[in-house]
Point group: C2
């Protein structure tokens, strides 16, 4: 699998001792059916992965430095509790964020993908945030921030998809597949936030 | 406020005895900041409300009859536990769904809007589903189904926005504002599903 770096700290995709996601492959099929996922989306998301392959750093810097850094309630999640920069944390997290773009586009939708999706989700909750990088930062990223930020990831990807000279129709198709994947992933992220200690999980 | 019918059963927008949403106006501002909401979006969402005003029935029928009805795990939420149609339930819910389109576009983002958003969300959870219409159907709509279905509402609205002869740029702007609102509302929906009886709410 294509990697944005030989070694990405904390990147545990496919690790044999990874926790199994509570989301099943049947659940995933259900989500794909709901968003209208089809073979064209599969093919164009793969093309998006090729198009974005050498742009992942630019995309992540756009999100992190242009958007998140300018919004205090988002920026604090990569700063110390006193509001000071944590460049090591940000750098490691950015590398994983870059790799997530590739994994979004190029990985098969199998149990390993679900497991790592769940690992990512947990790392945003109070159960696991800060632990991968041994930092002191906010205790968790609110689910509402995450769901709203998918709007940014949905919209702002388009110029990057268009940067390699593909036809407008092909860019549209890549963008459509990307958005469907974002909606699937927003649902997967929410799973880690809906685990009542008592009562039914209505995820 | 524009209504799609003089009397919509169970439509309690602005009711003086409505429950207050746990989501505050500050939370809403945070969500709007995250999705990049601006004055252009406000104006073009209002225009979308005018464009969609006489199309709400067509939009809801497209979603309910063309899409949801064809996906068994979604269709069951408007059927009896034995899988039989509940036309009264569907009809009343469709009227509220139509009105929701207008409210999305035309209502100010104030506490009343937040309160009714929360009422809508609760009516999808085990706490309130079926009670408004006194029916026996599925106990709740899974949050994952809802978050994924926002992909459909995001994409399929465009032809309706384009149906009144506006320029491509104006349709783009209406569609962009609509998508941002959908992302804000997906976050608001999730609030009703993240209420652990014990432990921290990380919404």
């Amino acid at each position: 699998m294509k990697r944005i770096a030989d070694d990405i700290p904390g990147y545990t995709y496919g690790s044999p001792d990874a926790a199994v996601s509570p989301v099943t492959l049947d659940d995933l099929e259900r989500l794909k059916l709901t968003v209208g996922w089809n073979d064209e989306d599969r093919d164009f998301l793969k093309l998006a992965g090729e198009v974005l392959g050498d742009q992942t750093r630019a995309v992540v810097l756009h999100w992190r430095s242009r958007i998140i850094a300018a919004i205090p309630h988002l920026a604090r999640h990569f700063r110390s509790l006193e509001g000071l920069p944590l460049p090591g944390y940000l750098g490691r997290s950015n590398l994983r964020f870059e790799q997530w773009i590739l994994d979004t586009c190029l990985r098969p939708h199998d149990q390993e993908w679900l497991n790592y999706q769940f690992a990512i989700a947990l790392r945003h909750t109070g159960a696991k945030k800060n632990r991968t990088d041994s930092v002191r930062s906010t205790a968790y990223v609110p689910l509402s921030d995450i769901l709203a930020f998918f709007a940014v990831m949905n919209e702002s990807i388009r110029p990057f998809l268009a940067a390699k000279g593909h036809s407008n129709e092909a860019v549209d198709a890549m963008h459509r597949a990307w958005r469907k994947s974002m909606h699937i992933q927003s649902a997967l992220m929410a799973r880690a936030y809906t685990n009542p200690k008592n009562g039914r999980n209505e995820w």
